[in-house]
């Protein structure tokens, strides 16, 4: 990109370096044949990928992470979409307050939420850690479920739903044959965002971990603290590849910038 803004362009280049270069180093290190994080890497091998995929704490926590992310994303949508409908279509007193409440998990620090749930639900109320995690992750995704599907709902001309009613469709029939199909891009965006948010979450998953149920990021954090070998680089590269795949899927369906940047270009 040629530019007539030399200062802005220099700062921008610096920004991209800080954002992306460390990730490149992780990728390079993952393929080392040596057994440390030394740079430059000592030779080329895939041994650390094999090690990562056969290291049980990683594989079992990956499964835990996926289960948690899928269930809580489904829950957040199942509970959040009706709220979005009530806010945008229903006659609800105090709409702004209801919407504010459902967006509020965004403004409270996640670590504070994690501590609250740990203290009150696990220690205080005796829920097990999976149930508590499910509560926490679902609540954390409410803002996406309510706001993203709400934004998508706001784009649907209410007259379209009126038209269906006028043509003889009941309220339920109208929702399933008109509203829901038109809402699909919004639902898909919300689901992807929710899944990613849950999968990557550290603060909640960290505070609410138990010996039997820990998520992958928490296990990785622990591992990095105690060991200094490239196995984490290998698992990082695998996560990176999966994330790229998610980004490509998003781009092919709704549009990458629309899903993750909230940007309509």
């Amino acid at each position: 990109m040629r530019t007539r803004h030399p200062i802005a362009a220099s700062l921008a280049v610096l920004g991209y370096i800080v954002m992306l270069v460390p990730i490149l180093f992780v990728v390079v290190t993952a393929f080392t044949a040596g057994s440390t994080l030394r740079f430059p890497p000592e030779g080329f091998s895939l041994r650390w990928f094999e090690a990562a995929l056969t290291y049980t704490p990683f594989t079992s926590s990956l499964v835990s992470s996926l289960i948690l992310a899928v269930i809580s994303a489904v829950l957040a949508l199942a509970l959040g979409v009706p709220v979005a409908l009530a806010i945008h279509r229903g006659r609800l007193p105090g709409k702004a307050l209801v919407e504010g409440l459902f967006l509020s998990p965004l403004i409270v620090p996640e670590l504070v939420v994690g501590l609250a749930l740990y203290q009150q639900l696990m220690v205080g109320f005796g829920l097990d850690n999976f149930q508590t995690l499910l509560f926490g992750h679902t609540v954390l995704m409410f803002p996406y479920a309510v706001r993203v599907t709400g934004a998508s709902l706001a784009l649907i001309d209410p007259a379209v739903e009126d038209a269906a009613r006028g043509l003889g469709a009941s309220a339920g029939r109208t929702f399933f044959s008109i509203t829901l199909p038109l809402l699909r891009p919004g639902l898909f965006s919300a689901a992807l965002l929710s899944f990613i948010t849950s999968f990557n979450n550290v603060p909640l998953s960290l505070l609410l971990q138990s010996r039997d149920f820990r998520t992958l990021p928490v296990v990785m954090l622990d591992y990095v603290q105690q060991n200094y070998d490239p196995i984490v680089a290998a698992i990082s590269v695998l996560i990176l590849a999966a994330t790229v795949l998610v980004a490509v899927i998003a781009e092919r369906t709704v549009g990458f910038a629309r899903v993750f940047g909230g940007i309509n270009r």
Partner: protein
């Protein structure tokens, strides 16, 4: 006389705003009725109550003689065309038109036949497989019409159907809607703020203001005899002056004519008012002249005269003129 629909004492109150204020209205069968008025007059609210999207605060609405005040929209059998057309974007043209029939569990073969029939009526049978997004505004409008007609409704409701079309297409669609109304024999209710549209299309027109009906009747009855100043202004009567008897009267700009000269001309068959030209606007065929004058009550009035440009006297700003007000065209006004 049979009624397609009837409003009795109907009001619609939103908080402290009364959108429709105790109206009685009869929609005749087999005719095109327009609800005409400026925005906020209650015409669209009335239509939405008729369609069942709004429950009246007070009063009853009957459709084809049956009280339908509490009937939900899907049970009313009315065909509605929305201002935004409200086509289902995820369905093809044929699926849109067939939607109402599907809801009525019409068998597929019969449905296909009636979809084609409706699309032929609006001249779009060849586009049945297209998605609405691919169509022009005028075509979307026709699909919306076909969709509403396909269910063989008791009434066809049109909410400002032409307001999103360009001027040329709008004129064309007026005739088209009239043709469809004639071919189907449906009772049609059309909401509009355009008096030309209402005059050209209506069998019956209903003028509304502030939630109340101001005047109702055939265009041929209403236009020459507006009931009050609001109706007169809305129908393009520009000139309001008090006659020697102290009554408010109105006259259309094209019925005034102007002469120049020192001596006051004789006022045979009307009256003559003295005035000064304020402004001239040349419109090709027409010449619009604004004249400052004083009426019989002594009030200063501005009169607008619409003259044939080729036969108009030579005028400039400040020219002293005589304004002739022929008695045959003077309309007395009552009420406000």
């Amino acid at each position: 006389m049979t009624h397609a629909a009837q409003f009795r004492g109907v009001s619609q109150v939103f908080g402290d705003f009364t959108a429709v204020d105790d109206i009685d209205l009869t929609i005749p069968d087999g005719k095109l009725t327009t609800l005409l008025g400026p925005s906020g007059c209650g015409k669209t609210t009335s239509l939405r109550m008729l369609a069942g999207y709004l429950a009246p605060t007070h009063g009853t609405i009957s459709i084809a003689g049956v009280d339908s005040t509490r009937t939900p929209p899907e049970k009313r059998d009315l065909g509605m065309v929305f201002q935004s057309y409200a086509l289902f974007p995820h369905m093809s043209v044929a699926e849109n038109v067939g939607f109402g029939l599907k809801m009525r569990r019409v068998p597929a073969a019969e449905r296909a036949r009636r979809v084609t029939e409706s699309l032929e009526l609006v001249g779009l049978a060849h586009l049945s497989a297209s998605k609405p997004k691919k169509l022009s505004g005028g075509q979307q409008q026709r699909v919306a019409l076909a969709r509403a007609i396909a269910i063989r409704p008791k009434l066809l409701l049109l909410d400002e159907p032409l307001s999103n079309l360009d001027a040329r297409l709008r004129i064309q669609m007026r005739a088209e809607i009239r043709r469809i109304q004639a071919e189907t024999g449906l009772a049609v209710v059309l909401v509009t703020h355009d008096q030309d549209e209402a005059l050209e299309m209506s069998d019956e027109m209903v003028l509304m203001k502030d939630g109340r009906i101001q005047q109702q009747g055939a265009p041929q009855e209403v236009f020459p005899a507006p009931a009050n100043r609001f109706v007169a202004e809305f129908l393009g009567y520009e000139n309001f002056l008090t006659d020697p008897g102290g009554e408010l009267t109105t006259i259309r700009p094209e019925h005034l004519w102007l002469t120049v000269g020192e001596q006051a001309p004789s006022a045979s068959g009307g009256s003559v008012v003295s005035g000064v030209v304020l402004d001239l606007a040349y419109r090709g065929v027409d010449l619009l002249v604004t004249v400052a004058a004083t009426d019989a009550s002594g009030a200063r009035v501005e009169l607008l005269a619409d003259l044939r440009a080729e036969s108009a006297p030579d005028l400039t700003q400040g020219t002293h003129v005589w304004v002739h007000v022929p008695a045959t065209h003077v309309v007395p006004l009552t009420g406000d």
